[in-house]
């Protein structure tokens, strides 16, 4: 049986093949600039139209596709596999051409380091080098879990074939149940990556502000650790705001202790949102704390952020609508 299908992009000479893969995955693996963001059905950035041919939808109710967009014949490339050769309509863009083409690799769990009561850093090893950009994510295919889970890497790509992920234990989450309670050192999973556009831009001339909340810590740690080591960024100020609910949810001290260079070069400002007796540090939502602590002139920074949707929404509104920070200076991947 022929499992490989050809996909032509209408009105262009572009063509790619898909074999046991999503349209998006196959396009990126072949180096095409197919627009996307979450690769998880949530954001709607990878919408395309089927001109001819059939596709199979992996998740027909994916929230990234509104009823109206569906009625207009749009589909999500991250949730579609071809069922025949197809002609599709999509606008490829050069900024989505992957610098490191995503690949599917087998990874072995080598360590799970507990950071707080519900945050653990899982360390996987692959025989191949871990080629990714600081801030990017990967899809984890876990044993006996339907579908993939997207998690951002917390380490540096220079660490050989190491892929670390700081992950929050979600009560009742089937993916994290496997990670936190079943997976043992030596067990294998599949990693598909890297993906994502919210990576460090060392060529930017501006000071750097990273904002993380909850398990949005993971890619921010990678970005800060890479930024403090990049010779091009030697003169930049690097500020890292991290928001958690209570002091119990913070692990910034430990992360700084593990990376003295980060402690020396970056200003790390943890804040808690729930008033707690005995807490001497910043209190409030992290975007409010950032607004209070940053010197004026928000347009003079390059912003990176990752966290739960209410947090990233609040940051977007503050920076893009209120402070008129140019949109291209705010980097984040929408996972909803």
């Amino acid at each position: 049986m022929n499992n490989s299908f050809s996909i032509k992009i209408d009105g262009t000479g572009e063509e790619f093949s898909v074999a046991n893969d999503t349209l998006l995955g196959a396009a990126l693996r072949q180096g095409l600039g197919f627009p996307y963001e979450c690769n998880s059905g949530g954001c709607g950035s990878c919408m395309f139209e089927v001109v001819s041919g059939d596709v199979k939808e992996l998740w027909p109710d994916a929230p990234g596709l509104s009823a109206r967009a569906r009625e207009r014949g749009r589909r999500l490339a991250c949730q579609c596999e071809p069922a025949s050769d197809c002609v599709i309509k999509v606008r490829l863009k050069s900024d989505y051409v992957p610098l490191h083409r995503p690949a599917r690799v087998t990874a072995t769990l080598v360590e799970a380091r507990k950071l707080t009561h519900d945050l653990t850093e899982f360390c996987f090893q692959t025989p191949e080098p871990a080629d990714f950009l600081p801030g990017q994510f990967a899809l984890l295919h876990l044993p006996s879990v339907e579908g993939a889970r997207a998690y951002s890497m917390s380490n540096l790509p220079a660490d050989g074939g190491t892929w670390n992920f700081i992950i929050r234990h979600v009560p009742k989450g089937r993916g994290t149940a496997v990670l936190f309670t079943q997976l043992k050192t030596g067990d294998q999973i599949k990693i598909d990556g890297p993906y994502g556009l919210a990576y460090l831009r060392p060529e930017s001339p501006r000071d750097i502000v990273c904002i993380g909340g909850g398990s949005g810590l993971s890619p921010m740690v990678s970005i800060v650790r890479a930024a403090v080591r990049d010779p091009r960024l030697i003169d930049r100020k690097i500020t890292f705001f991290y928001g958690a609910r209570t002091p119990n949810d913070l692990c910034t001290e430990e992360l700084l202790a593990r990376d003295p260079l980060m402690a020396e070069r970056a200003t790390v400002i943890p804040a808690i949102s729930t008033p707690t007796e005995g807490w001497q540090g910043e209190q409030g939502f992290i975007h409010e704390v950032m607004q209070k602590k940053l010197a004026a002139g928000f347009e003079n920074y390059e912003f990176y952020c990752c966290g739960p949707p209410p947090m990233t929404d609040a940051i977007q509104r503050l920076l893009l609508l209120d402070k008129r920070v140019p949109a291209q200076q705010l980097h984040f991947d929408r996972f909803y």
Partner: protein
Amino acid sequence: MMAFAKVCELDDLWEGEMESCQVNGQEVLLIGLDGGEIRVYQGVCPHQDILLVEGQFDGKHLICRAHQWVFDAQTGAGINPDDCRLAEYPVRIDDGAVLVDTEGVTPLFAHV
């Protein structure tokens, strides 16, 4: 040669409201400006083809739901980012109906 096509009744589009529909294969966004004037722009954001009707309109600004790109609803000009704009379609009101001409107008896209 005129190619105005009826897209909706004037009564269907109140001040501060927006509606999206397809005309001659193009997605168009109808905007009821504060004061009652009507504008018709391309229906998708110049950034990622997200339907603008899924965003917000407060009578003056249009905000895309995906990345909060902001457009001036009066002119279609990008406010943030300010180096893009929405293509505008000629609109005519005739006997209580809203008519749009899509001829020669194509949606604009940002290179970012």
